[in-house]
Amino acid sequence: MNLITTPPPVTPPGPWKFPESTATTTSAGTPVHIFDRPGQYVATVRVTIAMPLFVEPRELEGVATIMSRTLDEGTELHSANDFAAALERHGAAYGVDVSSDALHVEISVPVSHLAPAVKLLAEAVTRPAFNVADVGRHVTIRLGEINQEKANAGYRAREAFAAHLFDTSARRSRPTAGTPDTIRPLTNVQVAEFYRSNVGPARAQILFAGDATGVDVAAIVDDAFGDWRAEVAPVLEAPEPLYLPGNRLVLVDRPGSVQSQLVIGCAGPDRRSAAWGPAAVANHVVGGTITSRVDTVLREEKGYTYGTRSSFSAPRKGGTFTLGGAVRTEVTGAAIGDALRILREARDGLTEQEVQEAKDSLTLTAPLRYEQADSIIQQVGSNIANGVPINFADTYMQRIAATTAEQATAAYREFVGTEGLLVVVVGEAKDVRPQLTEFGLGDLIELT
């Protein structure tokens, strides 16, 4: 048999579009988007509620998180234990997420058990009890979780990054789920009040993705959510967050560390920006994959790290660019030096070939990304939270496909390194400190 010594040709795929949905509303006026995905026997049903985090009182930050975590911990109809037992008896898994702009409450459930599980989802969203004991327990659990976060190098680095990238006037400069001083005073009274002000049918959208063959999803959703009548105030538009410009170098001491956790970054575009698209292409070239400029040096040439990744990310407002990863303690300075050099050199231009390969990778992976019911819901929920159309993935892919090497470079130059770079290191300070003298990033800011 002949040996084949060159890569076989690849037939390009046909055009791709984000999965289509049908839209309806509940009797209460809540929009419902139904993605019928044959073969997806496990459905995801999500309620996305517009809830900008900046409305949390400063002294009670984290109240949104505690509220979200106690929705299912006792309702008007079930105790916490009974609710969990009922939901799990249907094979359902339940979860909540609070982001800068929205509350998401969702279940995954075999389609065969859809109706009773959606009823229970509605019970958590619309009829929570917020009992004293259940809220108190979650305050305690959150305090324990903060201890775990403090011990986690990656978490510490992200927290210090947010605290030094954003001005303290920005909610995003502080942890989403609150800090001990803002969590400890929380009671069920404040949690219930925050719920009443922010959670109602006028702020919600309901999403379904799964195999809807022979299932009247609209009727099931309406049966569960149709009589939801809570009145809530209109959503307030979050202010633009203020960034702190300039080069800065922050060292967080984490005694006993055998690696240094790094985050290097700056402001980035948000999703309203025309750069949201070209910037993703540039990111892919610079640090988005194992074959990127950064990992080619830090991982494949030098073996400093198991791997780094960069990304542009944005909630509704206030985008960021970050490069993150963990490197060996002894080479921390060398790794930061290489990373800064590569990030800055990329401002001089990305090549046609690099940009073409990045565009191909980003656009051609789209059908993989949205194969699963749950991944469709993740994307649509995030689109709603970010104030873009539910099929924004189509626009985004078109922008990426149309990006030239000049545009990718320009989008990158607009942000990365323009107003300086913030470098955060979490590691063994006594070993790392002497390695941080050469970067010209200003005085070292040390945290413990």
């Binding site: 201890n147 055998v258 198991y306």
Partner: protein, 425 residues
């Protein structure tokens, strides 16, 4: 629910088992290879080798330059990776279906001709990367070494499951290029692997493509089987108590369990689920909700093929609560289940949860390809993916109790505790 994913199977002349499951609903295809080599095959002194190959297999082969495996596949829209486990190593990609030939060509080139490109330089570099992986995943996080400590306690010295896949850094440091080449020649060949292709391709085209790219590879001498790890339940309590700078006190108990593929293992897994799975499990109910002595609990079975599996239960103590209280409560609940059994409702709940997990695992072409390779390689029967739910549904409450009584006992466990070091005044 009954599943009916189509399956077709052929064995090439060189011994490569090929399984195809055509699904034209999505314009993508998944390629998945399971090699019958995992950490359980590694003899003393060569621990971490199976995992090291997970890295070296991306460093180029006879016709593929270093780094080109990733870049060629990424630019045609692939998602790709590899993983190593106790029982096996796997390599996989999914991509738009027009790239199937490219994926197969790349997999075949490294299966047949990796050693042409496996140089001292690649070895040195990837050994450094693996050390960073170990630091990141084990050494630089609280409780990161708990499984390493537990399997060392749970199994006798040199038992195939007594070490983790990441292996010993001393073994990796001591490895010569020739040791590494020899390991590859011993285990990497068509007759020691399963190739699965799932997605947008006809059965005929998929088999033709498999033959086109893999058909000329030569079989390797039949590799030695992994050492037999058959062993019964532990009959004593083995402890490893650690004082460290941890954020909260934590206990993990580990139990030997029956081997994968047996109704006894399914039953033991469901017993652990009744205790620890989800929000309605007994431990969450008692320790987290009612008594509030734990911040969280978790656990479950880890199925293994080599004569024994293991399972765990973990509790993180609430602030100010003595970890001993958590340990005592775990012991009580373990014994209560073994002596008193489970209710019909509890059984139905953990079976329903297992069903959802399974349906989710099969909900992508990549996930389905992985499970097909799994069941073809370890059990010789890919159709188990279609009958798996029925097997779990067939387990009775009596079987659950009987498995628990034999395998999940307070008097037969390995246990690691982490207690916070006292703060200095």
């Amino acid at each position: 629910m009954p599943l009916n994913y189509p399956l077709a199977e052929q064995t090439l002349d060189n011994g490569l088992r090929v399984v195809v499951s055509s699904d034209r609903a999505v314009p993508i295809v998944a390629v998945n290879l399971w090699y019958d080599v995992g950490s359980r095959h590694e003899p003393p002194g060569l621990t971490g080798f199976a995992h090291l190959f997970e890295h070296l297999m991306f460093q180029g082969s006879r016709n593929v330059e270093s780094g080109a495996h990733f870049s060629l596949l990424e630019t045609v829209g692939a998602s790709l990776n590899a993983s190593t486990f106790f029982d096996r190593t796997n390599y996989f990609e999914s991509l738009p279906s027009g790239g199937l030939d490219l994926a197969l060509w790349l997999e075949a080139d490294r299966m047949g001709y990796l050693l042409d490109a496996l140089t001292q330089e690649n070895l040195d570099n990837q050994r450094d990367v693996v050390k960073e992986e170990k630091r990141q995943s084990y050494d630089n996080r609280p409780y990161g070494d708990s499984y390493e400590r537990l399997v060392r306690l749970l199994f006798p010295e040199n038992h195939p499951y007594a070490h983790m896949t990441i292996g010993s850094m001393a073994d990796l440091d001591a490895a010569s290029l020739e040791d590494v080449h020899a390991f590859f020649r011993k285990y990497y060949g068509p007759n020691n692997a399963v190739l699965t292709i799932v997605g947008d391709v006809s059965v005929e085209d998929a088999f033709d493509a498999a033959k086109r790219y893999f058909g000329h590879l030569e079989a390797i001498p039949t590799p030695p089987p992994a050492p037999d790890g058959t062993i019964g339940p532990l009959t004593e309590v083995l402890r490893d108590d650690v004082q460290e700078d941890v954020p909260s006190d934590l206990i993990t108990m580990m139990f030997r369990l029956p081997p994968d593929g047996t109704p006894e293992l399914d039953a033991a897994g469901l017993a652990l689920d009744v205790l620890a799975a989800g929000q309605s499990g007994r431990l969450n109910r008692r320790l987290v909700r009612d008594e509030q002595i734990a911040q969280s609990v978790s656990g479950g079975a880890l199925p293994l093929i080599g004569g024994v599996s293991f399972g765990t239960l973990t509790g993180i103590a609430s602030e100010g609560v003595d970890l001993q209280q958590v340990e005592d409560a775990l012991v009580e609940e373990i014994e209560k289940l073994a002596e008193g059994g489970i209710t019909a409702d509890e059984l139905a709940t953990v079976q329903a949860q297992a069903e959802r997990d399974w349906l989710e695992a099969l909900s992508t072409v990549a996930g389905r390809a992985d499970e097909i390779s799994h069941h073809a390689l370890l059990f010789g029967d890919p159709n188990r993916i279609n009958t798996r739910i029925d097997q779990v549904r067939a387990v009775t409450a009596e079987q659950v109790q009987s498995a628990a009584r034999e395998w999940i006992r307070a008097a037969g466990r390995a246990q690691v505790t982490y207690r916070r070091t006292e703060e200095e005044a």
